[in-house]
């Protein structure tokens, strides 16, 4: 039976599709990061998750810092242009608040793992990793010989999440989605997963085609949710601007365990915390 991306409230979509221990992708390469959806996972108390993003970004720093993540699959765990992700580091260096298992890739490796996943193939192919120490620490990276030329190449195991969650600019009332700007691996992540949730800035009667837009028809989606500003502090091209100030402030907020925990309780977990809106510090 075909899916039909039904428009529904975000809490309902998350409750239906994500469980403790789920394998969840929340993609968006700097742009369109589904923060509001990620926060909903936290609000529903979901834990023991395996999560995947090329760049963990502040979202995974938050999820890891609250102890909801058992394993993270990633290729760059820093706060771009600012410095470290302190909660990510604390988990890896000190096992706080719980030990964190890592499956580490390069951007090209993880991107190709998603491509394979979306293609229903068992592995992705690239030239990278030879001579580096990464393959030694991963069961998902191995070397093969080209069957035609004999050249040594790298195979990366396909990624197939249980659920992929992304944020996009628009959906129409039938649940067809259109996103534009930097698209990262969003399309691949959606098509590689068993289920997909898309949060959108707006729902329109009809999608007007735009240059270079990525279109995801409703029949590959499980749920579409109207969440204006659902990418904050990341952004949605033509709807919002990246909150670079907040990314810088996060460095100070997240350095100290107690300050971080209080911030998360006040601004994300609290019942009256605003969804997807820039937060006024309390």
């Amino acid at each position: 039976m075909k899916k039909a991306g039904r428009i529904q409230p975000l809490p309902e979509a998350v409750a239906a599709l994500v469980r403790d221990g789920s394998f969840v992708s929340l993609e968006g390469f700097t742009h369109l990061i589904p923060f509001a959806a990620g926060h909903e996972l936290l609000r529903q108390g979901l834990t023991d998750l395996t999560v995947v993003r090329l760049t963990p970004d502040v979202l995974f720093d938050q999820m890891i810092g609250l102890g909801r993540v058992a394993r993270v699959i990633f290729s760059y765990g820093g706060n771009p242009g600012v410095g470290s992700l302190h909660r990510f580091r604390d988990a890896v260096e000190h096992g706080w608040p719980r030990p964190l298992a890592l499956l580490e890739h390069s951007h090209a490796g993880l991107a190709n793992a998603y491509v394979a996943g979306a293609s229903n193939l068992p592995f992705g192919l690239l030239r990278g990793y030879a001579g580096t120490d990464l393959p030694e620490h991963s069961d998902d990276i191995t070397f093969i010989d080209c069957p035609f030329t004999g050249e040594k190449l790298t195979a990366v195991r396909a990624i197939n999440p249980d659920v992929t969650i992304i944020h996009a600019q628009q959906a129409d009332r039938q649940g067809n989605v259109q996103l534009w700007g930097l698209s990262g691996v969003q399309k691949e992540a959606v098509l590689a997963a068993k289920h997909a949730i898309v949060t959108v800035e707006e729902v329109v009667d009809e999608l007007t085609p735009r240059p270079r837009a990525v279109v995801l028809p409703s029949w590959v989606l499980d749920a579409v949710c109207h969440v204006p500003n659902g990418a904050w502090p990341s952004y949605a091209a033509d709807f919002s601007v990246r909150d670079n100030g907040f990314y810088s402030e996060w460095d100070a907020i997240s350095r100290d365990r107690d300050r971080f925990t209080r911030w998360m309780e006040d601004n994300v977990l609290a019942a009256d915390a605003p969804v997807g809106a820039p937060v006024v510090a309390r």
Binding site: F29, G128, D133
Partner: protein, 237 residues
């Protein structure tokens, strides 16, 4: 260092740019003598023309002005892996005498002393770009005899081609380039006021120096004023 890096770029080159100092260097080069440089960001922007210095490689301004935006798989498979980048910038926490780079961990992988961000685009950029520019501060903690982890490989970095300089490691003390014969990094120039011994002390292996050792050109008024203008536009948020 930013100015030194900007000087390495030739007009019209396709440059893969990362966060931080490489961002500044490439944008500075466009304002100076390489206005035709094509800026590529691994986030997917090709032919980016940022009005202001971006904080991240996915900033809105960067995407909005680009000639094209492609997906990340396309970027790494067709544009980077496919060999279309002339110059790639890389950062490093540690570097060794052959230009191998560590941005993964200080200490043991399973129980690191410091967990660094990780590979990102570096392994592909290192192996596929025509040449590489690494920017970092010169200290024995960074220039080490043996890396704690090899994140990207300083492959057989070649020497000058088509009038462009070869690969370079640019620091606050001077410039190193790979030897054509064995690929080992050699000091080719010091910045004004820096002595060879200063550089040797700051390097964790017996540093080879080319003779004659050059001195880099002092920073010009023009370079400085363009760099200031770039920085002001970045703070102007």
């Amino acid at each position: 260092m930013t100015i030194g890096a900007a000087r390495e770029l030739r007009d019209g080159e396709v440059v893969l740019v990362g966060v931080g100092p490489p961002n500044a260097a490439a944008n500075l080069a466009r304002r100076l003598d390489a206005p035709g440089c094509v800026l590529v960001y691994e986030s997917g922007a090709i032919g980016a023309r940022p009005q202001r210095l971006p904080l991240s490689i996915g900033d809105d301004d960067l995407a909005a002005g680009a000639q094209d935006l492609v997906s990340v798989p396309e970027m790494f498979n067709y544009w980077i892996g496919g060999g279309r980048i002339d110059v790639g910038f890389l950062g490093a926490a540690q570097i060794d005498r052959f230009g191998n780079i560590n941005t993964t961990v200080i200490g043991d992988y399973a129980q690191p002393q410091v967990r660094l961000p990780g590979a990102g685009g570096a392994p592909e950029i290192a192996r596929s770009a025509g040449r590489i520019i690494v920017l970092l501060r010169h200290s024995p903690r960074s220039f080490v005899g043996e890396l704690d982890f090899i994140t990207s490989v300083g492959r057989d970095l070649h020497g000058p081609t088509n009038g462009a300089p070869g690969s370079a490691v640019i620091t606050d003390l001077g410039i190193l380039r790979p030897c054509a014969e064995d690929g080992e990094l050699e000091l080719v120039a010091v910045h004004p006021g820096v002595e060879l011994d200063d550089v040797r002390e700051a390097t964790g292996w017996p540093l080879r120096a080319r003779e004659p050792l050059e001195v880099t050109e002092p920073v010009t008024e023009r370079e400085l004023s363009e760099l200031r203008a770039l920085r002001v536009s970045a703070e102007d948020e």
